[in-house]
């Protein structure tokens, strides 16, 4: 049997192997879809439905109109109730049934009418400093608007700031989420699956059989990973289609470029999988290594959820070798900014460099192991 036809036979075996295990296949295809739908709807980083309490020891016209103002801003607040004093709120803040409270003084309307300086307190649950900060400025804005509407004192000077959120004007979470999700899914499908499938043959002893076949080590590797390139590619298409059809995620750049870059990233992930597989003795070890080396960095050091710029410098430096970091910049660039290859060649080059490195190391090590 000549080497090329042996290789073809091997490839057919691998494809059959994957196709026969339809449960795994279903998971591989269904999981990304479920994730886009689930997280696209569910994961939001904006702050809404804040449990708000108002402390008004002495209700009057002014407190009523202020309360109406808060109740009127629909979506932002969920009005919990009015209380007579702050002490009543302590336990409610602790168990989270109240996240924010506006504390009004006695004789609120009367004192304002007399032209006095009246203090209003805004208490915010700052356990989470991010949403705490956002909640605080939201409440201050509502109070300012109320104050302006009643004709209260104006600042002597006013600088209006017209803020424009570029590339994602509504700060739609799903637009930011999809590029990261693609990277994440590809990391799982390509890196982890490759690592596991190779290590599995080692663990079950069938790798030995492949070794005595006329296949060269390089061919074994290619035959093993080729089907996963296709699977990964299908996943990208599924995720993008769902994102476009269901969430109308913008697609400002070239789809071809996006798919080409995805293929590059799939190869990167596969190479990582190969490298992991050469170092792992069992599926368990391979899986843990895949989590520690690919999944978590993709989640945390790639700008997917937390911005790179927020990392302390050692981690920022580390993030440079996380392939997903570059891939996410590329995908966001193409989808949200309509960037072309001219804008992204830098990132692409880095990604290609990492891939070449991993692939060389992986294939060489595997060859040594197998040979």
């Amino acid at each position: 049997m000549s080497a090329p036809s042996a290789f073809r036979g091997f490839l057919v075996k691998e494809v059959r192997h994957i196709l026969r295990d339809w449960q795994t296949l279903l998971v591989l295809m269904g999981m990304p879809l479920a994730q886009v739908l689930l997280f696209g709807y569910a994961v939001r980083s904006d702050v809404r439905n804040i449990n708000l309490a108002i402390v008004e020891p002495q209700p009057d016209a002014a407190t009523a109109s202020l309360r109406a103002r808060f109740e009127g801003s629909s979506g932002t607040y969920r009005f919990v109730g009015t209380f007579a004093n702050v002490a009543q709120l302590e336990s409610r803040f602790k168990d989270g049934t109240v996240r924010q409270a506006v504390v009004l003084p006695m004789r609120f309307a009367e004192r304002l009418d007399r032209g006095e300086r009246v203090q209003v307190q805004v208490i915010t649950d700052g356990a989470d400093p991010n949403s705490g900060g956002i909640m605080e400025s939201d409440a201050l804005a509502v109070l300012r608007r109320w104050d302006a509407a009643r004709g209260g004192a104006r600042p002597a000077l006013r600088i209006d700031v017209a803020a424009r959120m570029r590339f994602n004007p509504t700060l739609e979470s799903v637009n930011l989420f999809v590029p990261g999700l693609i990277a994440f899914v590809l990391t799982i499908v390509s890196a982890m699956m490759t690592a596991i499938t190779i290590v599995r043959e080692k663990e079950l002893g069938t790798m030995e059989m492949l070794l005595v076949s006329p296949l060269r080590p390089r061919q074994v590797v290619i035959g093993k990973v080729a089907p996963y390139v296709l699977l990964g590619f299908l996943d990208v298409v599924i995720v993008l289609t769902a994102a476009q059809l269901v969430f109308h995620v913008p697609f400002r750049g070239s789809v071809t470029l996006l798919l080409a870059e995805s293929v590059l990233f799939i190869v990167t992930s596969l190479s990582m999988g190969i490298v992991i597989s050469t170092n792992a003795s069992s599926q368990r070890v391979a899986m843990m290594a895949a989590i520690a080396m690919t999944m978590l960095p993709t989640l945390l050091l790639s700008g997917f959820i937390f911005p790179i710029a927020a990392l302390p410098w050692p981690l920022q430096a580390l993030s440079n070798v996380v392939p997903a970091r570059w891939f996410i910049v590329i995908v966001r660039g193409i989808m949200l900014k309509g960037a072309g290859f001219a804008d992204l060649w830098h990132e692409t080059l880095i990604l290609a460099g990492i891939t070449a490195f991993l692939l060389t190391v992986g294939v060489r090590r595997l060859a040594v192991r197998l040979g």
């Binding site: 032209g115 300086r117 208490i123 000077l157 803020a163 700060l171 599995r200």
Partner: protein, 388 residues
């Protein structure tokens, strides 16, 4: 009982003998705790800013200096060309452009109001909002301060224009509303104090669920599960024997992690610490039970892992760990309520950060207890000693 002890001993021996497993269980969680705690943050310093100054007056320069003065912004350059700034924004060299239009100072003096434009790269959602908010606060402060300096100029301008309107700074007769914001529970606004408790939960969850699910799937795949099946231990004994070692390991990790969080990151321990330890014990039962259940409904290690990952993804992204729960649509909040992680993360934060006690969290812990019993019962039912 003796049978269980033998099984427990076997599991521990397997862990201790296998260097890789031991390393996994001890080293990886702490490396993660340290990296995660530092990585999981939205607090940005040094946002790169380009200022387009088309006004070129003392006021516009003072504003630029003010923006640069805080620790938040790093002014890359000041230019007069909007096109140039746009390029910086697209090529990600700047995250924000502050555009001061021509005649900015003049408008401030004459009309007491002027507009400037802020363009933020919103590719990184949450950050864009925070940066814009921060910039707005600085600009507001700046406006207030300038009232004093420009007040003089305004009066002068008013007189020059022959107008008698010098009452700009006069107080309103309608009372002054003075708002005093106050943040509870995290005065220093340290994001780590909020995140580290949740990260601890995610660590024991990942280790617990994955290790358990994998452990059984592996024994099945390499055939040693058959040996256990033909041994005279009951299903219940088998499951307890499998879970107990993992539970003990998880508890050890949790306690050591809590201490590490306290020592390294100074996380607050405002409520009773024993309460979170008890909570962790109950919670781990649920987490491990789910891992075991996953392994009983799948066949290969690969499948097990995929299902486990899917579950973990839901845990991580929908449990309110990283994003506020209240913002999710109602149905998603129900989904979140069905995950044990959401409840235990909440318990951790309620006790450690908000200083809640038994009266605050007993319902959650009791609920987790009920869930634990249910999941274990289900896993026992689902586990078959025979192979079909």
């Amino acid at each position: 009982m003796r049978a269980i002890l033998f099984l427990v001993r076997k599991e521990f021996l397997q862990i201790v003998r296998d260097r890789a497993t031991l390393a996994q269980l001890l080293f990886i969680p702490f490396a993660q705790l340290i990296i995660l705690s530092n990585a999981a943050t939205f607090t940005i310093r040094d946002t790169h800013v380009v200022i387009v100054d088309q006004d070129r007056t003392a006021t516009s320069r003072a504003l630029a200096a003010r923006l640069e003065g805080g620790r938040q912004f790093l002014v890359e350059r000041v230019t007069s060309s909007p096109a140039e700034a746009e390029r910086e924004l697209i090529e990600r060299r700047a995250s924000m452009v502050v555009h001061i239009p021509p005649r900015f100072e003049q408008q401030l003096v004459r009309q007491r109001a002027a507009t400037l434009q802020l363009s933020v790269n919103a590719e990184e959602g949450a950050v864009a909002g925070l940066s814009a908010g921060y910039a707005q606060r600085i600009i507001l402060d700046f406006a207030n301060d300038q009232s004093a300096t420009l007040g003089v100029a305004m009066r002068a301008a008013g007189e020059a224009a022959g107008a008698a309107e010098t009452t700009v700074l006069a107080p309103s007769r309608r009372g002054v509303l003075e708002v005093r914001p106050q943040q509870w529970f995290n005065v220093t606004r340290n994001y780590k104090h909020y995140m580290v408790p949740a990260i601890l939960v995610s660590l024991i969850t990942i280790i617990g669920t994955l290790v358990t699910a994998q452990n059984v799937a592996r024994e099945r795949e390499i055939g040693t599960l058959e040996q256990l099946n033909v041994s005279p231990i009951s299903k219940m004994q088998f499951i307890v024997g499998k879970l107990l070692p993992a539970w003990l390991t998880g508890m050890l990790l949790f306690v050591v992690g809590l201490a590490a969080g306290r020592l390294l990151f100074g996380i607050p321990l405002r409520g009773p610490v024993w309460l979170v330890v008890v909570g962790a014990g109950v919670y781990l039962t649920v987490a491990l039970g789910i891992g075991l259940f996953i392994s009983t409904v799948t066949r290969t290690q690969q499948q097990t892992m995929f299902v486990a990952f899917f579950v973990l993804m839901i845990y991580l992204l929908m449990s309110g760990m990283f994003t506020p729960l209240e913002s999710m649509p109602q149905w998603a909040q129900y989904v979140a309520a069905a995950t044990p992680v959401r409840h235990f993360v909440w318990v951790m934060r309620a006790v450690l950060v908000r200083g809640g006690g038994v009266e605050t969290v007993w319902r959650e812990i009791a609920g987790l207890g009920v869930a634990g019993v249910a999941v274990l019962a289900l896993a026992v039912r689902q586990y078959h000693k025979t192979t079909e």
